[in-house]
Symmetry: C2
Subunit: 205 residues, 2 copies
DNA sequence: CCTCCGTTAACCACTTCGGTTAATGTCAGC
DNA sequence: GCTGACATTAACCGAAGTGGTTAACGGAGG
């Protein structure tokens, strides 16, 4: 990773990063071509290798960037600073959409990167990650006020159901060609409303 | 498509078909290699081209096969021969798992094939499909007895939520390396129980 | 022994792979 | 106008992989 990359105009950096996210998100590491990334990013391949010293370094840079951005976004939108589950979902959605607008393929990249089977990647990523998903569940499960949730199903099952549906929705959006984030956001927001209707505790004093 | 392929022992046919499903499911059409398919299927590339006259023909054969298998499985498990939504889900799950056991990558293939952007494929598939997903919703929505479902959320929103969660679950299972269908089945079955608990009408006479 | 036929190793011309080299284009300072 | 430093790229490298073909092998039946 060459520090000259950071001296580029922001928009050019963004173009290159998004090109890389896109190509790596849609292909396995092995079959994602650096030429394709360079072309998509509007620069020559030589220049791409001038900024990132090889394919692997670029990939890992993207991974770290995604981690940082995600963490920042969660803080910025105060995702964990509420104990209302649905409010947390709404804030999480806002954070996610903000990111998706700026980095359309980042979340798809992240999802795939975690399960990348190329040994170099798998090893490098494995070291960086500390079972982040489980961590998140722990954090949330402790924070949430369950008195406002119906008591006949466990929070765990609600949580996992919500998580699966989110992933399914996002995946479908990507497959359909991930245009139109606004549509995604309203659709997702409607789904949160649905959950709020279904999972809240009705028989409160 | 050479009819000699059908004269092969069933298990060899299966091996080749599943190899092709796997490679096409995990890569875009363009980047899926016929050599890889042949190797994975345990035959030489020449023989593969002896059975299927080119890459495109193989792909479309797989698509048709998937359609037929899915339709058969639904009939075999009488998926649409009930008006209880959750029973329908359970039967659908059984059908799906039966298929997944025999053709592990078929459903992933199907999902991706529908959105394949290679023009040849997109065109050929587009002709074959008649918005099957919408059709399915219509069929189900008419059939289902809504008196046993809670009335404060629409069936449409329940249906789409269930669909998204299913897709999310399956996708995650694939990404994690799709071993162990039993685990998938019990996990899914637990989710159906969750839905049944959440969506049924409580205040019945 | 021969003929058939399933099967494949080897090959085809061509593209793409990750990565490099050598040469350009650009622009500030003199 | 000139120079030197840096940004940028066209062209190239050998290696590998592409879809697809060809010619030959191997073993069973007559």
């Amino acid at each position: 990773m060459n520090e000259k990359f950071y001296r580029l105009p922001q928009e050019k950096q963004l173009l290159i990063i998004n090109a890389a996210y896109k190509v790596f998100a849609r292909n396995s590491y092995k079959k994602a071509g650096t030429s394709e990334i360079a072309a998509e990013g509007g620069i020559s391949k030589a220049l791409l290798f001038h900024y990132f010293h090889n394919k692997l370094a670029l990939y890992l840079f993207l991974w770290d960037k995604a981690q940082d951005l995600t963490k920042e976004a969660k803080e910025q939108y105060k995702v964990y600073e509420t104990n209302d589950f649905f409010e947390m979902l709404r804030r999480g959605l806002s954070a996610k959409c903000m990111l998706m607008r700026k980095y359309p393929y980042m979340s798809l990249f992240t999802m795939n990167a975690y399960y990348e089977n190329e040994p170099e990647i798998h090893e490098a990523i494995g070291k960086k990650v500390k079972s982040g998903a489980d961590d998140a569940y722990q954090t949330i499960a402790e924070k949430i006020n369950r008195d406002s949730l119906r008591g006949d199903v466990t929070f765990e099952s609600i949580y996992s159901e919500v998580l699966f549906a989110s992933e399914g929705m996002m995946n479908q959006w990507y497959r359909a060609g991930n245009r139109d984030i606004d549509t995604f956001e309203t659709q997702y927001r409607r789904m949160i409303e649905h959950w709020e209707q279904v999972y809240n505790r009705k028989d409160q004093p």
